[in-house]
């Protein structure tokens, strides 16, 4: 599934009662910003490479956290990362992210499932970790 096909497919699909709003992010890399209905606050960014389809949503930045509680947060993030469906927790630059990687051969249904799950998980995680914000 390449980025163009994905854009067209998501634009007029519904999955589990959700619709998708797709916006390409300008730049050299093919990146899509996908907004899932009912979870608009946490857009999911999608990029397709030879080896995987990477979907990620931003949680918070390092400087937004209470410094004295960062270790505890990290511990909790590692623990939650295992049982969370289709999502892992990670960090890129200063951003804490929740992400999922799919095989490039995944179909539209798998990708939509991933997008819905990620957007919802991002909201749940933000609310769960609210106490760690400065």
């Amino acid at each position: 599934m390449d980025i163009q096909t994905l854009t067209l497919t998501l634009g007029d699909s519904t999955h589990a009662g959700r619709t998708f709003d797709v916006m390409p992010i300008a730049g050299e890399e093919p990146v899509l910003q996908v907004t899932v209905s009912g979870a608009e606050e946490t857009p999911v960014y999608v990029t397709v490479t030879d080896t995987q389809i990477l979907c990620l949503a931003y949680l918070f930045e390092e400087q937004e956290l209470l410094p004295q509680r960062v270790n505890e947060l990290h511990d909790n993030m590692l623990r939650l990362s295992v049982p969370m469906p289709l999502s892992s927790l990670g960090k890129t630059g200063d951003h804490y992210v929740v992400y999922g990687a799919l095989s490039p051969t995944s179909g539209a249904a798998e990708i939509m499932q991933e997008l819905v799950t990620l957007a919802e998980n991002a909201i749940d995680l933000l609310q769960t970790f609210e106490d760690y914000l400065a």
Binding site: I25, A26, G27, E28, E29, V31, Q33, E40, E41, T42, Y45, T47, T49, T51, Q52, L54, L56, Y58, L59, F60, E61, E64, T92, G93, D94, H95, I123, L126, Q127, E130, L133
Partner: protein, 231 residues
Amino acid sequence: MRSVLNKILTAMRGSVNELGEAVVDSQGNRILEQELRDSEQELKQAKQELAALMAESASLARQIRSEQDSASKREQDARKAITAGQEELAREVAERIVGHERRGAELTQTREILQQRIDSIKERVQRAEKQLADYRRELQVVKTNERVLRTTAQIDTNINSQQSSLSTAKETLERIRERQAREEDRQTASTTLEKELTGADLDEKLKAAGIDGEQDAIDSVLARLKDKPAQ
């Protein structure tokens, strides 16, 4: 693999997030790609060599079997000659048998040496395949890492150009709460509407005022029964 992961971590800790300051330098990437190509080439050669040697070994096996077959066939001939009292003929046949057995032994020895070479090349192929898988995995990690960095940099630049800045987690949480409250309001409104439509809300009000239609009905039946007791 460990060296690649360490390089990535060291670079990350050094706060190298700027675009262009690739985490593992592109020179390192090229070296890795060259190593990958070398390994692939070596593997291809080793496999070709292996195939040729295995074909040769199979051909030798056939020749050995043929010598053995000839020897045993000649043995029968020799026995018949002896039975017929043809001592001279039997001796001649025996010479042939010796020839077959000698060639068979020589071929067997050649095949054993060949077999050792096959085993050693098989080992080489396995090593090269493992090496190749390692390189591919390393390269994938390095490339994915670079891709993620470029992608997130691109997202940040884009969002920053559209809004004053990427919204903070607190702002996002505020928006989530607002939406959740709106959804809750909608839910409450639709429940209220449903009650109004079915008259359930009126029944509730009557009950609250001590007016219970169901209870009244039971009471009146009881009163009727008491009026006309069983005879």
